[in-house]
C-alpha cells in the first residue's frame, strides 16, 4: 500500500460582485462554449 498527494486543482479568478457578478458568469460560460 502506498499513499501519495492527489493532483490538486488551482484556484482561478475571483471577483467581488459589484453588480456585475452575473455578467462574469455569463462571460465565463461563453468562453467554455456552454452559451
Amino acid at each position: 500500500m502506498a499513499v501519495q498527494a492527489a493532483e490538486s486543482r488551482q484556484a482561478g479568478e475571483k471577483y467581488v460582485d459589484e453588480g456585475d457578478g452575473a455578467e462574469k458568469v455569463v462571460a465565463f460560460l461563453e468562453s467554455i462554449k456552454v452559451l
Binding site: 500500500m1 501519495q4 490538486s8 479568478e13 455578467e23 462574469k24 465565463f28
Partner: protein
C-alpha cells in the same frame, strides 16, 4: 498486459447497461486480455452492447423473477468460480445492487473487498486507487492473497467509450437454488420524475447549498439549470434540511458528477461535497464568504450574495433565449 481476465458486474438498464457499468467495461478492456460481463435479465439482448464496450464473454444469470440481484448474482458468480473459472479480479459498480453483490460475494468466497476505488492501473498486477481525506491524498493498494479480488468502483472514475468489438459470447450462468436468502423480491419500483438530463450525465450542473437561505430559493437553481439545459444538484446540508430530495445530492454520500461546468451557488465547499464534484472540467462558485473553501478549486469565483447574483443571472440567460 499482465492481467489475464477481469469480470465486470454489468447492471442491465433496458437495452443497455448502466453508465457506470459501461465505464468499467471500457476501462477493463485496457487492462486485461479477456473481459467478461456478468449480467441478468435477457443476456442475448445485451451481447452486442457488451461486446461494443469490451467484453468477450457475457455471463447471463438469467431472469431473476423479481428477486433482488444481490443473492442470485453473487451465487451465480460463486458457482462459476467453483466450476474452475477464476478471473484476476471482479470489478463492481458502487451502486446499491453492486455493493450488495460485493458483500455477499466476499462472504461466499472468503475474499476481501476494496471499496471506494476511483482508479485501476496495471503496475505488475492490478493496483487500486482510493481518495482519502477529501481527495487530498490517494492510497494505492493491491491484493496480496489468492484471488479473485473484489473491487467496488465509484461512478465517473473512467470514461465510457465504445469500441468496434464483436458481440460478446453469451454463456448461461444460473444461480441455482438460493433457498430462503433468495426469496426477497421487488414488490414495486418507482422512477422519480425529472425533466432535463440526469444529474450524473448532465454537461451542466447547477447546485445550491445552505447559502440559499430557505427552501423556496432552490427554485432559482432549478431555473438556471433549465436555462442551461443542465441538471440541478444540491449540497448535503439542504438535503438533510429537507429542502430537496436525496436524489439531488452531490458529494461523498450522494452522486459523483463530472460535468463540463459545475456552478456551485451558496455552497461553502465542505470536503464531503467537493469529493463529488471536483472532477468537473470547470467550476464556478458564487458565495458571499470570500474565504469559503469552494473558491480554492473554482475556475471562476464570485464573492457575492446569491440572492442578488442569481436573479441577475436568470435575467441574463433569459435575454439570450
Amino acid at each position: 498486459m499482465t492481467l489475464s481476465t477481469l469480470w465486470v458486474l454489468a447492471e442491465p438498464a433496458g437495452d443497455t447497461f448502466t453508465t457506470t457499468s459501461l465505464e468499467l467495461l471500457s476501462h477493463a478492456r485496457t487492462l486485461a486480455n479477456d473481459v467478461a460481463a456478468i449480467t441478468w435479465g435477457d443476456g442475448s439482448k445485451l451481447a452486442a452492447v457488451a461486446g461494443e464496450y469490451g467484453a468477450n464473454t457475457l455471463y447471463d444469470v438469467g431472469d431473476l423473477k423479481g428477486a433482488l440481484p444481490g443473492v442470485p448474482v453473487a451465487a451465480a458468480i460463486a458457482a462459476l468460480i467453483a466450476g474452475g473459472t477464476t478471473p484476476d479480479a471482479i470489478v463492481i459498480p458502487a451502486s446499491y445492487d453492486g455493493r450488495d453483490v460485493a458483500g455477499r460475494l466476499s462472504a461466499r468466497l472468503d475474499r476481501p473487498v476494496l471499496t471506494n476505488v476511483t482508479g485501476l492501473v496495471e503496475e505488475g498486477g492490478l493496483v487500486t486507487e482510493h481518495p482519502v481525506f477529501g481527495g487530498s491524498l490517494t492510497v494505492k493498494a493491491r491484493f496480496t492473497a489468492e484471488g479473485p479480488g473484489i473491487i467496488v468502483v465509484r461512478a465517473k472514475s473512467f470514461a465510457a467509450e465504445p469500441s468496434s468489438g464483436a458481440p460478446a459470447n453469451v454463456v448461461a450462468a444460473p444461480a441455482g437454488d438460493t433457498g430462503a436468502t433468495g426469496s426477497a423480491v421487488i414488490a414495486t419500483s418507482h422512477v422519480e420524475e425529472r425533466s432535463g438530463p440526469k444529474l450524473e450525465e448532465a454537461a451542466v450542473v447547477v447546485s445550491g447549498g445552505r447559502g440559499l437561505g430557505e427552501a423556496g430559493a432552490y427554485a432559482m437553481i432549478e431555473e438556471i439549470a433549465k436555462l442551461l439545459n443542465g441538471a440541478a444538484g444540491a449540497s448535503r446540508a439542504i438535503v438533510d434540511a429537507g429542502w430537496v430530495p436525496y436524489s439531488h445530492q452531490v458529494g461523498q454520500t450522494g452522486k459523483t458528477v463530472k460535468p463540463l461546468v459545475y456552478v456551485a451557488c451558496g455552497i461553502s465547499g465542505a470536503t464531503q461535497h467537493m469529493v463529488g464534484m471536483k472532477g468537473s472540467k470547470n467550476i464556478v462558485a458564487i458565495n458571499k464568504d470570500a474565504d469559503a473553501p469552494i473558491f480554492q478549486i473554482a475556475d471562476l469565483g464570485i464573492v457575492g450574495d446569491v440572492h442578488k447574483v442569481l436573479p441577475a443571472l436568470i435575467e441574463a440567460l433569459k435575454a439570450r433565449t
